[in-house]
Symmetry: C2
Subunit: 362 residues, 2 copies
Amino acid sequence: MNRYTLESLKSFTKDVLMAMGSSEESATLAAKVLLSADIRGIDSHGVARLSGYVRLWEAGRINATPILKIIHETPTTAVIDGDGGLGLVVAPYAMQVAMEKAETYGTGWVSVKNSNHYGIAGYHAMLPLEKDMIGMSMTNASPLVAPTFSKSRMLGTNPISVAIPAKTEPAFVADMATTTTANGKLEVLQRKEEDAPNGWIQDKDGKPTQNAYGVKEGGALLPLGGNRVQGSHKGYALSSIVDIFSAVLSGANYGPWVPPFVSFLSPPENPVGEGIGHFLGAMRVDAFRPKEDFLNHMDNWIKTFRSAETVDGEEKVLIPGDPEREMETIRTKNGIPLLSPVENDLKGLAEKFSINFPTHII
Amino acid sequence: MNRYTLESLKSFTKDVLMAMGSSEESATLAAKVLLSADIRGIDSHGVARLSGYVRLWEAGRINATPILKIIHETPTTAVIDGDGGLGLVVAPYAMQVAMEKAETYGTGWVSVKNSNHYGIAGYHAMLPLEKDMIGMSMTNASPLVAPTFSKSRMLGTNPISVAIPAKTEPAFVADMATTTTANGKLEVLQRKEEDAPNGWIQDKDGKPTQNAYGVKEGGALLPLGGNRVQGSHKGYALSSIVDIFSAVLSGANYGPWVPPFVSFLSPPENPVGEGIGHFLGAMRVDAFRPKEDFLNHMDNWIKTFRSAETVDGEEKVLIPGDPEREMETIRTKNGIPLLSPVENDLKGLAEKFSINFPTHII
């Protein structure tokens, strides 16, 4: 696989978004958010999605020049209308509003409607870290997941991210779909012609299957837990909470009405809201106890868990965020590898918009 | 099994707590909270625990006459010192504080230290419902759960509950341990001499086991997901978030320092905080959008999911809270059944404190 520097892919992404009509400021931010997935190793949510955004824009389903508005607020809450913009731009704005409220009142909570895919949940949750705030981020997404006991796709992979600052230790950053696995991992199995593990997917009749194409053939991803005995009703509940906080609080589409990310599928008729929804929160740690006390105990928490005794064959116990941070170090040094279908897709965009495609690292 | 009316067990519990020295007001509240578990079918968290509370009180580890204090606050946040009191009393007070803040500022968030076991998480999360607020409740608990890749018990079953009001539909009430299963379900299997399903527990070496006594023999419960391939790192992250919000924010004990619920095990030496911790939150739905809009869409959300197509052999798709509500209807009519060991245990308390034990339903 060819590898590219972060800066070169960011610059290319910015050029594509500006060719779509985005302002330079918006395009710069969106490129930064999108590439934060690639550098952290979450390839399914990074630059590989760029052509998908372009196709949605061509279909009139993404507004490249949105006017973001607060349409309802209290001292600690707000609802933002994303005006059909890129979630990559809408969500950082919403988090900014949440952080300003937290600055004054201790906490801030913002629900967003009329938005689109916002990249990785973790990017947004991590924004408050530099102000010694806890960040939270969640979003609903196109329905691919069946509730426990159902054969229908009713929910998205609806991720939750929570980022918690520490003092000398790197921050605790959980960033997780509320399903057993992500759709991107099925694509990896399909390429390798391997079966899917138990508990990942069900077929169109709602029966467990190990067919890695099960979702494409009308089945569904399973909520975290995988089946009732192993707690899938809990994953279903978590995914539902994400859906309700992101969309029923804001006025976005929820459940089966969430518009699909792919342009070749039309959004459902008779929508119950506008676009997709996000929910963002910020809490100042010193709204609860003196900052130094919190940060010192958080360091102790992290050190204690990282040094917990391992089972045979495992090197160490991980803290949420460790794998992505390790990948970031590697890719900052070695560049971001692109699969050739992704590379070709991006070259197609370069041609479409008459933009230079970057040279890979030799 | 003998069955008892809710009122008779509530009254008995109140008498026991007053014999421990609780005020009538505190004892009445604590009995109500404790029995809310039994009436909803969560027997592991109800009156069966009463003698455990008494033993902790005898060991000087529960204060029957706590003075609850707000020790830190902002407009939307507070930390409460539970003064070693029953969590059954401390948590409703904390939620009251959260709701008052939400009334004025849109949301309220309270972290609690120096508390004890608080019964079912769902009771506390449901308190804001009557004011058309969303309620959230979580607590840490004695370490019985191993992080992914570890053989050590580092976390409790650390439940999360979220309650969301609707209009004509009953509320959405998720109330879930962040483990695959609850410890109480292992006790059921032990009585039946049955094996545990895969993904519930590991043995003392951290290997998966189906031995229902695995935890008693030095093993651990597993985080939701069960193993790494099926997402246990997500359950581990969720449980960690509960631990940090409940205890690192408040100054309670966290991780392996959480004191055990059983009086025959001593609390760890060199504690990192005081008692156990809870985290409670309330958000006014009209802090986000007009109340009627929210409630109507919530009704639609619930109806849509409840009528989702089922897999063969399942009668319907459940909404979080449905099973407990159905059990409440049945037990309100037929009474609460007590296993004979529980019944004998309670009769022992009646004798100890010279209190009348109620007559069962004929």
